[in-house]
Amino acid sequence: MDVTAGWYLALGAALFVIGASGMLLRRNALVMFMSIELMLNAVNLNFVVIGRHTGDLNGQVAVFFVMVVAAAEVVVGLAIMIAVFRRRASASVDDLATLKG
């Protein structure tokens, strides 16, 4: 039984939905952040698999760029989180609701 691209794509979709659920269900800013990373990884997997299916290396280059952007995002995001934590001593995003309408 051959493992076709569809299998990987289904796995990627599952990982993506799990990440999205983490986004929506967890209050801890760090866990939400990790969920985002998971979603990015799911999409990366799709890039590579589709690249393999079509014989196109550009998919892997796209993954490379996603990784760079994710790294930058993590650096700034974590710095923000530390700054927020120093001020409020809490990592729960639900406490950051001062802009409530």
Binding site: E37, L38, V48, R52, R87
Partner: protein
Amino acid sequence: MVELVLFIVFGAIALAGALSMVLHPNPVHGALGLMATMLSIAVFYVVNSGHFIAAVQVVVYAGAVMTLFLFVIMLIGVDRHENLEESLPIQRPLAIAVGIAFLVLLGLIGGNAWITAPEAASPPNGTVENIADLLFTDWLLPFEVTTLLLIIASVGAVALAQYDPRPKE
């Protein structure tokens, strides 16, 4: 046959890691679960002939990024169990409904065809040479722009780290 085994074994690890990250109340465990998922995905990269990408995945994601996460978790001291009770009224049912709907719809779309293009004769070879060839020709400008992005990110991180909310004496 080898690929099927790899897919089943590491696909299970990836799903388990992802689920443990979402469901485990302690973020440290969650981070370790995510690391497992990322390593599994690195394996899939190798299987799909993304050798260079797989290495970067291990070094950057599983290595640097996740270490950074753990470091921050330890630093701000949230390595205790989180209260998983939902405080927002319709958040949880909405999230579950939306997640299931998403999967179902993807299934509907993918049930017809995940990929319409015919399979290529030979898979691309994701070696360092080939990737570099593309990066420094077709993708040169985006590549240079990412350097700018990284500089901005590091400057921003330093600035945020130095920011002191308390008024000066």
